[in-house]
């Protein structure tokens, strides 16, 4: 009993302390936790965790944080980060089935591995230094090898292709970085309740990492206060997007699987995080489901929204919001408790089908060519079904309907891109650069110093069916110690970013919302962007696994060294010469005669009379011969070139 009391007392203290912080924080630090659930057309479920932590502007010196993670605020102050985003991703976002034209996908569909970009608030000359320091700091903070982005060969400074126009922006990505729970733990540490309470308690590691897509993102931006003497406020946005396949027992293939939070994650929510200002769970149902029920006037009809012939929700939503093409159910989890955990479930009764809205063009990228020599990178843009709906929005001055597409691509230095070989095909017709290319910015790579970067703005007609861009490259050679451990796998070319500057995705809620950070971020217009696949380029790789070569070379060197040393020490030259002179008088054997003949013949000179031609004449003769040879070779080369290019 005493034991129980002893353990209770600190807990009570802690509880009251936490409550005091949560409610008595007049500085205005705010934390909110939200979870968006969304069934996907291909029988999977998307879960999007969103945590926002706001620190208001205050005097930057000697500041004391209650909720806001100290590590992040120190990071911002030290490196003067204006805006930064770090994402860890595993798996590929399926643009066809999971959508490409909503704020969720345009913000959370990230390239495989680690992606980091940051805008600094420092003089231009110090941006690179700040970036390098930042990568190291983040590397330590998130237990990841982000420090590899420090090297100037791995990052670039996009000017306009990335979507954020700033000359103090740096961008880098590590496609090969493996993402695991090691990276999630430090990320969770930044949350006030970690994963002990509230929505984050759902993050059961096995179920999170079993998903088809997993992206953990950290976005921070500073908000200028505008007042003198005050520093800037920081908004820290942490999101985790997972796509999970619910376990299903039904054999019916066209029936959407039913799920509940506990079946998806193996856990339930027992109460919100005490420190959170708001903790909500949203359920978004897309497609024709949204259109079906138009009037939500009466209580019965509202009830019908979440318990109808199509599907059942296990809990009554607190609010229902309609969007242009979807329904949003809002649940407040404050009411849940240990005895009555929040376990939202969705049961489908009828087979239903819908499709997600897609970006105007679907981008895919692939390598062309084979072997270890040349190759080409091709980016293929294909019109999607939703393109027709979207087109017509962006009329140019002369009345033509166009789609703008920005392509931003980093090339590692060992991919030596020949920018002059850029070819653009629109609907299988080759176009000149001036026809479709509106803007282009190229920064070539320098061997072992910096990576290359290509930014392009294409202006394609709205009725375009497909567009292809190809650019040739040569493969460079790496120094033996520059190869990574698994060199024979090949080398990665980071994802290209395709963004559509004239298209913006936003959710259009018909009702005025409460101050939900997630929904308000959805309501803001966000640039539609999609990342292409990572490419694998096989480079020529030395045979590392052959110690034999090393042994052979070492032995040869040793033999040469010791052999010559012994020769020098042992041989007596004077003695040998004396011996030879005494031998010279004697008659030579037949074999030796043969030898002298042979050697004389090989040298091309008679034994008796050395060549008496004057060297000058010989040299002129040689030179004319040489010129003739050169002409012959050049002629042969020209002929070869002529015939091989023919046909």
């Amino acid at each position: 009993m005493a034991c129980l009391v002893r353990s209770w007392i600190p807990l009570l203290f802690l509880q009251s302390f936490l409550v005091a912080i949560a409610f008595g924080s007049n500085e205005g630090e705010e934390f909110s936790e939200e979870l968006l659930l969304k069934p996907l057309p291909d029988r999977k479920v998307l879960a999007h965790f969103h945590f926002e932590n706001r620190a208001p502007p205050s005097n930057s010196h000697g500041r004391n944080h209650h909720l806001f993670p100290k590590a992040i605020s120190q990071l911002v102050q030290k490196f003067r980060v204006k805006e930064m985003e770090l994402s860890f991703t595993q798996g590929r976002w399926n643009h066809e089935h999971w959508g490409g034209f909503d704020p969720l996908s345009s913000m959370n569909a990230k390239p495989v591995g680690v992606e980091l970009w940051a805008v600094f608030d420092v003089p231009q000359s110090q941006v690179d230094i700040s970036w390098k320091n930042l990568t190291h700091a983040l590397s330590g903070l998130f237990c990841a090898s982000i420090n590899f982005l420090e090297s100037s060969t791995s990052y670039a400074a996009p000017t306009w292709g990335f979507g954020t126009n700033s000359d103090k922006l740096r961008y880098g990505s590590l496609p090969r970085e493996a993402v695991c729970t090691e990276n999630l733990t430090p990320w969770l540490k930044l949350l006030p309740c970690r994963d002990k309470d509230g929505i984050s308690a759902l993050m059961n590691r096995p179920s999170v990492y079993r998903g088809f897509y997993h992206s953990q993102r950290l976005h921070l931006s500073t908000v200028e206060s505008g007042q003198e003497g005050l520093g800037s406020g920081i908004v820290l946005e942490q999101t985790l997007t997972v796509v999970i396949q619910p376990e299903t027992t039904s054999v019916e293939t066209n029936m959407q699987p039913s799920w509940s939070l506990s079946s998806l994650f193996g856990r339930k929510v027992v109460g919100s995080c005490v420190l959170a200002k708001s903790s909500n769970v949203y359920l978004q149902l897309e497609g024709r489901l949204g259109h079906e029920s138009k009037n939500v006037d009466t209580e019965i009809e509202a009830h019908k929204l979440w318990m109808n012939s199509d599907f059942d929700l296990s809990l009554k939503p607190d609010r229902v919001i309609r969007e242009s093409s979807s329904l949003l159910f809002i649940f407040d989890i404050d009411k849940s408790s240990d005895s009555e955990p929040f376990d939202l479930g969705l049961t489908w009764k009828l087979p239903s089908k819908w499709s997600c809205e897609q970006a105007p063009l679907h981008a895919s990228r692939f390598l062309m060519g084979s072997g270890n020599e040349r190759g080409a990178i091709a980016i293929l843009l294909k019109a999607t079904e939703s393109q027709e709906k979207l087109s017509g929005r962006n009329l140019t001055t002369d009345g033509r309907c166009t789609i703008k597409a920005n392509i931003f691509q980093i090339f590692p230095w060992y991919i030596k891109v020949y920018y002059h070989t850029l070819q653009i095909f629109v609907d299988q017709q080759q176009k000149t650069d001036s026809e479709v290319l509106k803007k282009i910015n190229v920064s070539p790579s320098t061997d072992k110093v910096s990576s290359g970067m290509l930014e392009m703005m294409l202006e394609l007609p709205c009725e375009v069916k497909s567009a292809a861009i190809s650019i040739e490259y040569d493969k460079g050679f790496l120094h033996i110690d520059e190869y990574p451990p698994d060199a024979n796998q090949g080398f990665d070319i980071p994802s290209a970013l395709i963004s559509f500057p004239s298209h913006h995705a936003s959710l259009d809620f018909q009702e005025e919302l409460s101050k939900s950070p997630l929904l308000s971020s959805f309501k803001e217009k966000s640039l539609v962007r999609s990342y292409t696949e990572v490419l694998l380029v096989p480079l020529t790789t030395p045979d590392f696994s052959m110690p034999y070569n090393v042994i052979t070379i070492t032995c040869t060197i040793f033999a040469l060294y010791f052999g010559s040393l012994l020769n020098v020490l042992r041989r007596r030259i004077g003695e040998e010469e004396r011996f030879l002179k005494s031998q010279a008088g004697k008659k030579r054997g037949g074999l030796k005669q043969l030898l002298s003949r042979l050697t004389a013949k090989i040298r091309g000179r008679p034994i008796e009379a050395p060549s008496s031609e004057s060297p000058a004449a010989e040299s002129s003769f040689l030179s004319s011969k040489l010129i003739f040879k050169i002409i012959l070779v050049a002629g042969a080369a020209a002929a070869w070139q002529y015939f091989s290019t023919d046909k």
């Binding site: 060199a487 990572v534 002179k581 008679p606």
Partner: protein, 700 residues
């Protein structure tokens, strides 16, 4: 070897020019000794070379999995009856379709495509042209050519491939594994449908497993146009598509524009065929690995398949062998001799257990001969060859079930085992982080589980070609001596340009060989339809007239020219042998097996060649025998002759004029497959053979 020695000698002389002669180094002495006794050594070395080739089956090592990451068979198979029933259903549907319909259109493709998409794969169709390889002399060694568009594309004949891609759930999409099943969409075929069944069973499993790290592509090729061409067309589209508009897309009702999908770098490919009925009690699995120009896939891939097939699924695994060799008595005798020697050696020292039973030896040599032959031919033995052109390791698995194709009861078990074999292989390849690089790429197989690595089999070749430089050097010295004797002015004769006349002749004939090599291209351009026989006659007449022209233009070239114009035959032979040596060594780098077989033919011919006239004049038994031998060798060495003999060895006797047609077809296939063997025959073998002929009829 010898040139090195000569270099040494040269060095020696330079260092003490003018000073008294020092005693040559031992290595130089050895060189001189070898050159001086070249006839003996050439016989010894050549015999040793042939013996080393015969002994190879004894030296074969057991294969082993070199790459630890492969871990074949360590995971339990996840294949369930549900998957098998999926496969059976597809086969049943296809069979039903054939019962009710005539083969036209793309209905079968659509049926397969529907099955794929039901399993959760991304499906697309690809149209291709059956137009195959066109010979172009200048593009011979260039890689797989980019898709050359034909202007007058006819919609009359085109094939449609179906492909489905399963994306690895958590993978990054950088790599993929390709499964190919050729299927004739027009005529069907019961056995071919079984291969679709196996793959569909496997695909159904792969669509729901979570362990995939590489995407899986299942390609059902339209085998109406052969096995190879559809795969090659798909690979061309995969690796070097043309973004320009193609008329082919408009053909037929199937719209395939812009639907081609890709899945990263291809890590490995497996071609599955079910063919014929097994003659044995077990189901038989034949492995075909040879790609163009004797390139082989990594040995680990074969090892994995062999391991899983033998130790897990109980298939009888075999590789191709020359069946006629199995019954040859001389090989059997050799095998028995080796067995006896092995037994004797074991009694002397129990550690020397290199002896193998004669039956094993026979089997091993038949397989080795087939392995050598397929590599030397340079023509891929299956659709997997198309992958090798893109540096992808691929093999063809041909399964022969022991039951007739309509047996329902056995089918289930067969699908289960076939799919498990493929599942295990794919799982192993899927485990790989790096591409195949650990194990051998240069090897010969003597059985599915035994191989000879490059380090062992090149000994035979090295021994065979070793006499060439020695004999060349000794002949040169001899020829120089003879020349010095024949003329009065010693200063002129001692100049090193004595070989120049001979070199001119050798060069002229090599040039002729080059032109003859290119001739078929121009003959193909001749308008009108010609039978292969007519074409070969055209080629033969052009070539021989060119030869006559060469003899007429270049004095001293002809064996029929007067004695004073002619060069010394010894010098000519020396230069010929040097040229043959260089040609063989170059060929051994490009395609070892060709060089090996070429050396077997060319080395004795070159070594034995000597003027026939003095031999006839002398009327000594020894010289007559030598002349006879060289004539026989020269007859065998003629490419057409050798072709006929090898045909006879394989059991197809060809005689008369049809031989020319056959030979033409064979050569056409060689150049169509871009086989370096064609170049070897035209540019090394033929000139050397002609030169030997010149020597034979030399008027000295």
């Amino acid at each position: 070897m010898a040139s090195e020695k000569r270099d040494k000698e040269e060095e020696e002389v330079k260092t003490d020019d003018g000073s008294p002669k020092i005693k040559p180094r031992p290595i130089v002495q050895l060189g001189i000794f070898l050159v001086a006794h070249s006839p003996v050594f050439s016989v010894v070395f050549s015999a040793a070379g042939v013996l080393a080739l015969l002994i190879l089956p004894l030296l074969a090592k057991n294969t082993y999995i070199s790459e630890n990451a492969l871990m074949p068979g360590s995971a339990r198979s996840m294949l369930s009856n549900r998957d098998v029933s999926d496969g059976s259903k597809l086969v049943k549907d296809i069979k039903n379709y054939w019962l009710n319909h005539e083969g036209q259109g793309v209905e079968v493709q659509k049926l397969i495509g529907k099955y794929m998409s039901d399993m959760g794969a991304e499906v697309y169709y690809q149209k291709f042209h059956p137009e195959g390889n066109q010979f172009h002399p200048l593009h011979f060694f260039s890689g797989p050519d980019s898709y050359t568009l034909l202007d007058n594309v006819s919609c009359a004949s085109y094939g449609v491939n179906v492909a489905g891609i399963i994306r690895a759930p958590r993978g990054d999409g950088k790599e993929s594994i390709v499964l190919v099943t050729p299927y004739d969409f027009i005529n069907g075929g019961d056995y071919e449908a079984l291969s679709l069944g196996i793959t569909s069973t496997l695909f159904s499993l792969l669509a729901r497993v979570t362990w995939l790290s590489k995407d899986i592509i299942w390609l059902v090729t339209d085998s109406r146009y052969g096995d190879y061409r559809p795969v090659a067309a798909w690979l061309t589209e995969y690796h070097s598509p043309s973004f320009k508009v193609s008329d082919l897309l408009k053909c037929g009702e199937l719209n395939t524009a812009d639907t081609f999908r890709r899945a990263g770098t291809v890590a490995a490919a497996l071609v599955l065929k079910v063919d014929g009925r097994s003659e044995r009690f077990e189901d038989t699995l034949s492995i075909y690995a040879e790609a163009s120009n004797g390139q082989m896939p990594n040995l680990d891939l074969i090892n994995v398949v062999n391991y899983l097939a033998v130790h897990r699924q109980g298939f009888y695994v075999k590789v191709e062998k020359v069946v006629s060799l199995l019954s040859s008595s001389w090989l059997k005798i050799i095998g028995e001799i080796f067995e006896a020697v092995g037994k004797l050696a074991r009694t002397l020292n129990p550690d020397w257990n290199f002896g193998i039973p004669a039956a094993d030896y026979l089997e091993g040599s038949a397989t080795l001969a087939s392995s050598l032959y397929s590599q030397a031919l340079g023509i891929p033995t299956g659709p997997h060859g198309a992958f090798r052109d893109y540096q992808v390791d691929a093999i063809t698995l041909k399964i022969s079930p022991r039951f007739p194709p309509d047996s329902k009861t056995r089918q289930h078990d067969f699908f289960l085992r076939g799919a498990r074999l493929l599942e295990g292989t794919i799982r192993s390849v899927n485990n790989l982080l790096e591409k195949f690089h650990q194990s051998f790429f240069l090897y010969l197989l003597t059985s599915p589980s035994k191989f000879i690595s490059v380090g062992v089999y090149m000994i035979a070749f090295a021994l065979l070609v070793a006499p060439l430089p020695m004999v060349a050097a000794s002949l040169y010295i001899e020829g120089c001596k003879a020349l010095t004797k024949s003329t009065d002015n010693p200063t002129e004769n001692l100049k090193s340009w004595k070989w120049l006349d001979a070199a001119k002749q050798v060069f002229a004939l090599h040039l002729l060989g080059f032109i003859v090599t290119l001739l078929p291209y121009f003959i193909c351009q001749v308008p009108g339809q010609h039978s292969p026989r007519n074409r070969s006659i055209m080629w033969g007449t052009t070539s021989s007239s060119l030869l006559l022209i060469t003899f007429a233009i270049i004095p001293g070239c002809s064996p029929f020219s007067s004695r004073h114009h002619g060069t010394n035959w010894a010098v000519l032979k020396s230069v010929t042998i040097s040229a043959a040596f260089i040609g063989l060594c170059l060929m051994s780098i490009i395609n070892f097996a060709t060089a090996e077989i070429g050396a077997l033919l060319l080395v004795p011919t070159c070594l034995m060649a000597q003027p026939i006239k003095p031999a006839l004049r002398s009327r000594r038994i020894k010289s007559l025998l030598g002349a006879f031998c060289s004539m026989v060798l020269l007859t065998i060495g003629f490419p057409v002759m050798f072709f006929a003999i090898s045909k006879g060895l394989f059991g197809e006797a060809v005689v008369g004029l049809s031989l020319g047609g056959e030979f033409w077809t064979w050569l056409e296939s060689l150049w169509a497959w871009k086989s370096a063997t064609y170049l070897y025959i035209g540019m090394v073998h033929l000139p050397c053979w002609l030169l030997c002929l010149c020597i034979l009829f030399h008027p000295s």
